[in-house]
Chain length 338, copies 2
């Protein structure tokens, strides 16, 4: 389990590989015209191949850490990620570290740019909600020795340390609760198949249905936007479904919107279960029953792992999964209890 | 109006002032032991006095911009600031620039650290919701020539370019609406007196009351947290006040919470007006009447001003104020219309 972290290449390594002096290598990388163009290009290519990053040199010069971590999330409008970022920052602050935040707006190119920027500007480590389109870049950073922890979403087959939530307990209890109260069919609003959370929760929903003795239930394949939850809820309601289970925060908001617009009282005319805790879900006439991912704990665990990596230690556990919890409130219609 | 931006001191200026070569100055600032300790300290002191920042050197070497802006906000849990950050980032992205975000959690020391970090890590400019305790540091950065725009809050007496919202139109219409419907007394939940927005809106509320022909109305001095809105609403409700006007987003959430908990139906038993647009305020049985600060426009204006400063131009207007708008929905009790 105790893997040795790969050494980061230094300017010296680049110079040695290129057969030039350290100062020539330095000048070449700084695009100093004192070094012939061909030589510059050759050294730059070599440096790239070795995975050399200029800030490693800057750090060696300072012989100190920047005491800053970088955090990359796909959205800040989503209260779940805003809470995650704030909890990560609180953990970092408690440890005397600053936090730089970047928001990719669920865009892989924006994530790629942000990763580059953070890696090249001397953060000591990065915590990232990964986009699968950036898997190679993340793996490359990891192999170069950049302390890196993935949170919320996993990369299939990657050995980058990860902290995620395990939906099983919460979702099995949620489906069980709806089934016990006769609230079937259950319409599930699934996240996208391009994220591990989307895939894993859909699979878990199907498993939970089997556990509850239910045949296949209607599923709407959505995304991570309120509008997709709204659209999905309308589609399911139009099919006569009166029991809605949203697979993430933003789609939960969309489901609430659809119910309000259709004049359906949640907990009386329809049953609703959502994901995550946010003030909006309790500040309804009948507070929502939700699955809590314990985002604060996820953030604290992720920072603890990152901190170990920064200290050059291998974390005791590579893939931490935090069980979810069903929080029962008043959004389930009272049917026949079994 | 067209002020010339102060020149940023270069490494050359530091060397000239210290009477040493540029390379000696560079080594001294990099703590290179090849330079005697006394000389190093002397040069570092001089550099600090001149307001020299190492990244200016880094930029000159690269002879290119980082194409990155820094954004500093006091909270990300607050949907208003999350929206602001996202809109700023959208504007920057449209212009090919990346955005680094820092969250001060309404803590002046955290803001100070973040400002230092951003200024020393090569962002091209900074957009900041200022804490008044950081006024000197912000003024110093501004005088050094760091492109800097304040957003949402002003610093009294500062000449740093600012984009804020002007509460007058929205608040005068809000108080007028409540008064016309006989919804008095109006309990106002005020933001803190340590921010320009808190002070300005309280003053505007009093002005709006005078305009509406009302005597002094009850005021609760709160802050920018949901809990303070909750506490304030309870205090005002206990005084028999049935018309609540919250002076910011987070206190609006607290007011909704207090009404739900007290079993008071908003728009039937109590009248509520809040600040800002967020899904939660419309996804109520009776959508909330709110004051819209047009945070998207504020963000676009702020980025445009910053972009001009980065290009070395003086912005045409130093202090931009965007008028607020009252959005009437259904949270006002129907009383006698005048």
């Amino acid at each position: 389990m105790n893997t040795i972290l790969p050494e980061r290449p230094t300017l010296k390594d680049v110079a040695r590989a290129a057969g030039v002096s350290v100062s020539t290598a330095s000048r070449a990388l700084a695009e100093n015209p004192a070094v012939a163009t061909d030589t510059r290009r050759r050294i730059q290519k070599l440096a790239a191949e070795l995975g050399y990053r200029p800030n490693a040199q800057a750090r060696a010069l300072q012989s100190s850490r920047s005491n800053t971590i970088g955090v990359l999330v796909p959205s800040l409008i989503n209260h779940y990620f805003a809470t995650m970022v704030t909890a990560l920052q609180d953990a970092a602050t408690d440890d005397g570290m600053a936090t730089l935040i970047t928001n990719s707006n669920e865009s892989a190119p924006m994530m790629a740019t942000s990763l580059d920027f953070l890696a090249n500007h001397g953060v000591d480590g990065i915590i990232c909600v990964p986009d699968e389109a950036c898997a190679d870049q993340l793996d490359h950073l990891h192999r170069q020795g950049m302390p890196l922890v993935l949170i919320d979403r996993e990369l299939p087959g990657s050995d980058i340390p990860t902290v995620t939530s395990d939906p099983e307990r919460g979702m099995v209890n949620a489906v069980g609760l709806l089934a016990r109260h006769g609230q079937t069919p259950i319409g599930y609003l699934s996240g996208p198949m391009t994220t591990s959370t989307g895939r894993c929760r859909l699979e878990t929903f199907r498993y939970a249905c089997t556990e509850a003795g239910l045949e296949e239930q209607p599923v709407f394949l959505g995304g991570y936007e309120q509008s997709q939850g709204f659209e999905g809820a309308n589609a399911l309601l139009a099919q006569g479904v009166r029991s809605l289970f949203a697979g993430d925060s933003m789609m939960t908001i969309g489901v609430i919107e659809a119910c309000h617009r259709a004049g359906l009282v949640i907990g009386e005319d329809v049953s609703v279960i959502g994901f995550d805790t946010q003030p909006m879900f309790t500040l309804q006439p009948r507070p929502l029953t939700v699955i809590d991912q314990h985002v604060g704990s996820m953030a604290r665990e992720a920072f603890a792992v990152l901190n170990q990596l920064i200290a050059g230690k291998a974390p005791p556990e590579k893939h931490i999964r935090i069980p979810t919890t069903l929080i029962e409130r008043q959004s389930i219609r009272k049917g026949q209890a079994s």
